[in-house]
Symmetry: C2
Subunit: 315 residues, 2 copies
């Protein structure tokens, strides 16, 4: 296992021919944007490449695969994109865990095991790495590649809103937008569209909101019963994590989501430099300073109590 | 009255010394960003300049005026920024309507009367014009100027989300962000912060939502009674206009806000190229293709009926 430069990454990609590109479970815009952009770029170089997803492509991201057809070949080079830890491969873990040749990521907390690793935590989105790589590979940024890269960059920065955004993020966006990128459609899908079911879920979630630590911590939760009552799927559940941090005075917004396996998936969003990653590490999770997650086993009251107690120590 | 180039604009500004800069009523991030950025730039050139606002500076934008102190001088050159029509000057109209020397704007529908007019409707924000102007004037972009310009650009593009955003918008943002711009704070204030009162107002507004035209038109409204019940001011009312268009399938989102003077302030937001400006012109208003407004006199049911009838003709 060795750390390599982006130039070495591009040489490795040029030297190989039959790629599987792995995304992380509960795939988001960044991991999918990386995978499709890299896949289209490798195919443009005459190579075989497929995107591998744990579960299925979320319907809202179907535009990424509009011109994607699964190819038939025997894979001999495996690349993971935006995957910070082996367990985050989800269903793909068993098949691929011992044969990852290259890991491309932007999580400082990356713990992946792979022949070669490139992590640049200064990038707001892993798609920024893929953008530089595509340029390095000499591949023209087509509309499909532009849409994939834009998706990762805009979703991981909250559409250029979050503090992880840099001048480089905007420079890349400016360049991508010259390539007939459907940015307005992409942003509408990711930031401006709510199903009526999602609207109902949000209103239900608002009713669960509680404040702790003199208003500096806000907690919301969803239960399987709430999801069932609204027949809400992953699309309706997405984005709820950003709600509690938005309230004036809140420095740590916590969202608990009951899962089928008896755990709560916990999302933590922070303001003012409060370290969400360190907070989630206490519970075996991780992520970024302002946005992290973890899973905790237990019933709602117990999990909530654990989180509040930990929040009180931090805030 | 003549249309001039940006180079001629910069010459006019260099030739004069004592400026009042006028913003539009219900001042938003763009008109205020323009005014403070231009004011700081003119002062950097050794000139006298004050920002004139109808009403008072909304508290959320107080950071723009952190290093602004009103100067004492006799004004001999009046510039309006981001003001599309004389009536939009609000309280400033009477004092200034016959003496506007220069109008800088990005509304294609601009009807201002001024000695000199520069309108560039290709700019997502009027602050893009001011950015180019500041560069043309040879003024260094200080942190104050960067914060003002970023405020206008991010608020008028929904943080680079809306279809009016261009590659130029991102290039300017990339340049501004090199100047210690507090973009994360600015975005948090404008996009990520809700008071608990605002949260309550949103939930109340959701309850008023009705759908017409087979779900392609969504209407919400607020009444003075609702505002009073929550003791909601302008801060709580802001941003409500973006709610109805977000619902899946909605092409025209209409927000009606009851005002003290017996009118309803109507905000129209559209998707898929539906012309909100043409729609609002029917009622004496105007604005942009995807975001326009108008005022209609009458009680709630009458105003709503007029709007729905007009929407049915368009959709």
């Amino acid at each position: 296992m060795q750390k390599i430069t982006l130039l070495e990454v591009s040489k490795l990609l040029l030297k190989n021919d039959n790629f599987h590109i792995l995304t992380h479970r509960y795939p988001d815009g960044d991991t999918l944007g990386c995978a499709y952009a890299l896949c289209f770029a490798l195919r443009a170089l005459g190579k075989k490449a497929n995107v591998k997803i744990s579960g299925k492509l979320p319907s809202k991201f179907s535009y990424l695969a509009k011109n994607y057809v699964e190819q038939d070949f025997s894979c001999d080079y495996v690349v993971s994109v935006d995957v910070a830890a082996m367990s985050l491969l989800g269903e793909l873990e068993d098949e691929y865990k011992d044969r990852i040749n290259l890991c491309l990521d932007h999580h400082g907390s990356n713990t992946m095991v792979a022949d070669n690793i490139f992590v640049d935590a200064s990038c707001a989105a892993a798609c920024e790495i893929i953008y530089v790589l595509v340029k390095e590979l000499g591949v023209k940024i087509t509309k499909d590649i532009a849409n994939a890269l834009y998706t990762g960059i805009s979703t991981d920065t909250g559409c250029f809103c979050y503090s992880n955004t840099t001048a480089q993020t905007h420079r890349i966006a400016a360049d991508i937008m010259k390539n007939e990128c459907d940015f307005a459609m992409i942003n509408r899908i990711n930031f401006e569209t709510k199903s009526r079911a999602k609207l109902k879920m949000e209103r239900m979630v608002y009713d669960t909101m509680e404040f702790y630590c003199s208003g500096k911590c806000a907690i919301i939760y969803t239960t399987l019963a709430m999801q069932n009552a609204l027949n809400a799927g992953d699309d309706e559940m997405e984005g709820l994590a950003s709600i509690p941090r938005q309230i004036e005075g809140v420095k740590m917004g916590i969202t608990m989501r009951e899962k089928e396996d008896g755990t709560y998936k916990v999302s933590v969003r922070t303001n003012d430099g409060i370290d969400a990653c360190a907070f989630c590490k206490r519970f075996g999770g991780g992520g970024h300073v302002a946005a992290s997650g973890c899973s905790i086993k237990g019933d709602m009251q117990t999990v909530k109590y654990l989180l509040i107690k930990a929040a009180e120590e931090v805030l």
